[in-house]
Amino acid sequence: MKIKKNPVLSMLFFSGLFLLIILIMQPLNIWQFGEKIVVLFPKGMIALEQRNLLFILQALMLIIIIPVYILTFVFSWIYRADNPKGKYDPDLVDNTVAECVWWGLPLILVIIASVLTWVKTHELDPYKSIESENKEIKIQVVALQWKWLFIYPEEKIATIDFIQIPENTPVQFELTADAPMNSFWIPALGGQIYAMPAMTTFLNLIANEKGDFRGSSAHISGEGFSRMNFVTRASTKEDYDKWVSSVKQSGSELNLERYNELAKPALGDKPLFFQLTDETLFDDIVNKFMHPKP
């Protein structure tokens, strides 16, 4: 089957155009959206480390992918059927050295990436407490249908869909759910972890800058899950202390009765603030699905 026009030329032209669009698109994106690209411009140490690993792996991969792209077009161009200069050697079907190179080269890169992954996975284990001179604060997180309940067990306060934390202070989240599986994610501060009923998981994060960061449930948990957003406010220690005492004074009480009211499936419209009067509330929620003690 013959094609009359020179398809190779138009092919290269269009491909070039596409690649150019992609190449231009990324800086444009970054210029346009800037700080909103939270994974690439993180506000916390954990997210920063995770981003750096992403960049390093990406660079490693490009060592192979860029030559592949170039070779694809170079070979197709040189050895196009209507090029009289291209050598033709149909019986060239094996070359041990060449094949060793492309089994070996990816192998070396994968070994480097593996070592990196092993070290970084242990370093950035979400269960590991972050070392800092400031005292860690604990926040217990309960995913409800479809809102987040945050309990500050030491400060004895609780909130719905709002967290305030002091900057440069490690935060340990202890998560559970009274709902289907959810994923707790504050991209500006670091990676996510699932919040699951009848068990607890842990996540350690730190904010190194002040600001309001968006958090959400990254995993579908029913009808209202896309509105399960919350604000994480990182502030100075003084502002944080002020906020805690104001919640303590003004908030209504959170006990089991009020909790059962909150746990009914409904969208969380706006943040709510409570004093925590029932100190075993979190454990009760975790143990809710267990059989009662004999």
């Binding site: 094609i3 398809p7 190779v8 491909s15 596409f18 669009i21 992609i22 994106n29 959206f33 909103k36 939270v38 994974v39 690439l40 995770q50 992403l54 792996l57 990406q58 991969m61 490009l62 592949v68 694809t72 070979f75 197709s76 050895y79 196009r80 059927a81 149909p90 060239l92 079907v93 094996d94 070359n95 492309w102 089994w103 192998l107 994968v110 992954t117 092993w118 970084k120 996975t121 242990h122 370093e123 284990d125 269960y127 599986m181 994610w185 991209p187 670091g190 990676g191 996510q192 972890i193 998981t201 968006r214 990254a218 995993h219 579908i220 029913g222 009808e223 896309s226 509105r227 957003n229």
Partner: protein
């Protein structure tokens, strides 16, 4: 009497009613068209009751194209909703309807488009490439198809009666448990996937045995075409992985219908086990889809480079390597579930290892072009689109396989961009290449090259526009499956861009459908004048007439090396002598279709708790199976004289086209 089926199940909102009406209209139009052409008898005798793998393969592809339109419609609805539903605007879909739409999109595309296309290709190509007249179990093959079709039909039924699942295409527990999801949606999903999945398992067994036992004389393992090798690996994966799916779905069904506690939150169930089991099947599943496509490109690239495949042995070992490793990486789908860093790191590293054999394959394809004569026909263009997008998706896959990075991009649109790069950039473009490449083999005429090229540019451009911004959206914190987001997130411009990309893709798909009908309409101008070898092929399927006669090979070929037709063309082996012999072929039977139809009724009964219907249809299925098992002679004779007449007729027809 009707279980929990009430009149409520037939009430829908406006968008769904539109879909139901268009489906009914399409059905009525199709039935009247067939009646108008007086083709019912032909349809019954030649197609519906057939056990010929070529016919079954074509029926697979027809179902695939229909389901592809449906899945594409779902995708368009999602992207349009996301372009509109920002801030105060709520879009045109309610949250629960949106969740049904994306669940249906995933289920349709994976089970009825991708799996159907894989089985369609296996049915069409494997017997021809290994020099066989049939598959090992012709009736089982028809049965697999009808179970697949019955699953597809149940998907369409779910559109009209009641609601589809709303918990994503894998229906994670505990969201899919009766406690959180009491409706019929999840049951639809369970029985759709269950029926189609059993068909897949049977098909996998059939093609594994076919490849192992039906190869023509001289075709040793290391002389098989790479496409056959890739299907062999895919079938091994099917046989090992699909029983896991079947059992998991049964356990979920027991939880839901009989109140058991495998995956419930209360009562000692462990829903994390559901995630574990479903991915123990789910990860091999994606390799079941992509391996045959590696095989397709291993046929397309050498043919259009006028060379033999570079590094055959390497390719085979790479396939085997991927097959083995694909079973030990499934945990990378839930790094975020809180496993220890040891577990996460080991599975991350195992996942990265997959990059090695995949990289080897890409290099071998590139070096197949080296010192070849590269023809830029549309299958080759699809190879370029594949290579560019698949490597990008592979690279982001490696990023996802490192647990610390995964924590930041898992469940985000970055993940969506990654795996659509794999299934569209990898699987779908490969299927398009295969479709264009083998189309003349089964019709005798070529697909319209010009329209195919237009489609190619629409798909490549549209793909970049529809999926590249998703990587950025993922970095901006956009999670998957959102029916609404706040304006302050700043995602809106990118979502609009994505929707525009989706529209361009939709144009591309429409050009292809139009191209298909146009080609059939103008077939006289597109005749394949070579009579069976339009691309100057290398493998056995190009040595026989197009479309192949019912017995495929008048004389069973004997093979002395890889690429037997290439050897004949280059004078390395003598062409086979034309000696005709009596051939026994299996006769048609409607029982496969009956069992498929009964499974549809069975599934419907299970969904709506209509127990008498379930029992009756199950007994009827057993009776059908017994009738089939006790029938004696299932073969008919085609005499040597008749074979000669068919072959001569082909030669005559070829001359008349010139």
């Amino acid at each position: 009497m009707f279980g929990r089926l009430t009149i409520e199940a037939f009430k829908h909102d406006a968008t769904q009613s539109m879909a139901v009406l268009s489906m009914l209209f399409g059905g009525v139009a199709l039935i009247s068209f067939i009646t108008y052409l007086k083709r019912w008898k032909w349809l019954w005798n030649e197609w519906l009751t057939t056990v010929d793998p070529k016919r079954i393969g074509i029926m697979y592809i027809v179902v695939v194209l229909m389901m592809f339109l449906k899945g594409f419609g779902d995708a368009m609805m999602m992207r349009l909703q996301q372009a509109f539903s920002v801030g105060d605007s709520q879009g045109f879909l309610s949250a629960s309807h949106f969740q049904e739409v994306f669940s249906a999109h995933g289920t349709t595309m994976i089970f009825f488009v991708a799996m159907g296309a894989v089985f369609g290709l296996m049915n069409l190509i494997i017997p021809l490439q290994i020099g066989a007249r049939d598959v090992a179990f012709p009736f089982l093959n028809a049965l697999s198809f009808w179970l697949f079709a019955s699953g597809a039909a149940l998907t369409l039924v779910s559109l009209a009666v009641g609601h589809f699942a709303n918990a994503g295409w894998l229906s994670y527990a505990p969201l899919s448990s009766i406690e959180y999801n009491p409706g019929e949606g999840i049951d639809y999903w369970i029985w759709i996937v269950q029926i189609a999945g059993i068909g897949t398992t049977l098909g996998g067994i059939n093609f594994l045995v076919t490849i192992l036992k039906m190869r023509c004389p001289g075709m040793t393992f290391m002389r098989m075409p790479i496409f056959v090798w890739s299907c062999l690996c895919a079938n091994v994966l099917i046989i090992l992985a699909f029983p896991i799916l079947t059992v998991t779905l049964f356990m979920l069904a027991l939880d839901r219908t009989l109140g058991m506690h495998f995956f419930t939150v209360a009562g000692g169930g462990n829903y994390m086990m559901y995630t574990n089991l479903i991915w123990a099947w789910g990860h091999p599943e994606v390799y079941i889809l992509i391996l045959p496509i590696f095989g397709v490109f291993s046929e397309v690239v050498p043919t259009f480079s006028e060379k033999r495949l570079f590094g055959y042995a390497s390719m085979v070992w790479a396939l085997i390597f991927i097959t083995v490793i694909s079973f030990v990486v499934w945990l990378h789908h839930f790094f975020t579930m809180g496993a220890s860093p040891y577990v996460n790191a080991i599975f991350g590293i195992l996942t990265m290892i997959v990059a090695i054999p995949t990289g080897v394959k890409i290099f071998n394809w590139l070096f197949t072009k080296f010192r070849g004569k590269v023809h830029f026909t549309s299958p080759m263009l699809w190879f370029f689109a594949f290579l560019v997008n698949f490597t990008v998706a592979g690279m982001t896959g490696i990023l996802l396989s490192a647990p610390p990075v995964d924590f930041q991009v898992h469940n985000s649109l970055f993940l969506i961009a990654h795996f659509h790069g794999m299934v569209i950039g990898g699987f779908l473009f490969g299927f398009f290449a295969a479709f264009t490449y083998w189309f003349p083999k089964f019709t005798g005429f070529m697909l319209d090259e010009k329209l195919n090229r237009y489609a190619f540019w629409f798909w490549s451009g549209g793909f970049l526009l529809a999926f590249m911004p998703l990587y950025m959206l993922g970095f901006m914190g956009a999670t998957r499956r959102l029916d609404h987001y706040e304006a302050s997130t700043g995602w809106h411009p990118l979502f609009i861009l994505v929707a525009v990309g989706a529209v361009i893709l939709f144009c591309g798909a429409n050009i292809q459908f139009f191209g298909l009908f146009w080609t059939i309409y103008k077939r006289k101008q597109n005749w394949d004048h070579t009579g069976g070898d339009p691309w100057n092929g290398r493998t056995l399927e190009w040595s026989i007439p197009s479309p192949p006669p019912v017995y495929n090979f008048a004389t069973i070929p004997t093979v002395y090396d890889r690429d037997p037709l290439w050897d004949i063309k280059h004078g390395k082996t003598a062409p086979p002598k034309k000696e005709y012999e009596d051939i026994y072929m299996p006769i048609n039977t409607p029982i496969g279709m009956y069992i498929g139809g009964l499974s549809l009724i069975f599934g419907f009964g299970m969904v709506w708790y209509i127990w008498w219907l379930v029992i009756l249809s199950f007994i009827a299925i057993l009776i059908c199976a017994i009738i089939r098992l006790s029938s004696k002679d299932e073969h008919e004779l085609i005499t040597a004289q008749q074979v000669k007449e068919i072959e001569d007729e082909h030669l005559r027809r070829m001359k008349s086209h010139d």
